[in-house]
Amino acid sequence: MDTEEYRDHPVRSYVLTSGRAHPSRNTLRPETLVRAVESRPVLSTAGRLERELVQLCRGTLALAEVAAYLQLPVSLVAVMVSDLVDSGNLTIRSNHQAHVLPGKDILEKILDGLRKL
């Protein structure tokens, strides 16, 4: 495994997220879709990474995609996303509740889609 590439360590995560190790909500998953709220300017107190995150999300992306592009762990990006949702800069695009499994109707649509690939 290439550890050279690995950019994060616990101390840095801690600093970046102002000392919180876990997101305030546990509704965020790696596949949760997020998107910037265009009308909402990023607070002047926001850091460079936050700005970059919001910029990335001018179109819909899953949290894991945001993490991969920023080269940060998903767990850390979840904390940042959670804060940016609280500040009104990001919105959760996936409209399902956390911990609710997709229903049969959704699975049928997925199957149809896969069969057409």
Binding site: P30, L33, G59, A64, V74, S94, G103, I106, I110
Partner: protein, 203 residues
Amino acid sequence: MDSASSDRTAPEQHLAPTVARSVKVLVVGAFGVGKTTLIGAVSEIDPLRTEERITTASVGIDPGQPNKETTTVAMDFGRITVTDEIALYLFGTPGQRRFWDLWAGLADGAVGALVMIDTRNLEDSFEVLDQLELRTKIPFAVVVNQFPDSPSYPLERVRAALDLLPETPIVECDARDRPSSVLTLITLVEHAMTFPVFQKVNA
């Protein structure tokens, strides 16, 4: 310290604005079994990678050593926009017990898992299957990835060797081939549809 953006190469590829729902499937299996290859074969974006630092319980009892250690675990993933509204994400992760903390979180809410196996190293997949069966309730399908020098056993023999339940699907696949890999996903979703937990309609 370098800025994270300066060495970001791929331009981000946003989902269509109509996509408002995501679902996920896990791709698990022993080291080198073809997880990344399968994800790359079906994904509409170049597979992406994230890394997570996790604390793992070390294997065995060594009185001189602390019983926890920190490791970096990589997760590759890809996505398929399956309908105008739904994106399917495939998360590839090692399924061994020591990575449980990482993939327990991933398994939460998943439609199911593809368990990739290599007939040259069947026993490498026992631990992954044990973890799935004992610690999750998620549907899974077993994917036998065919390598050129893999002995070709009848699938029923592989099923017996892995001690699978009769209803667990087992399929052969060439992970480099898109249609072949898509078929494994179709098999998994069809199997998931038989699970009571997915019967509810909750669009």
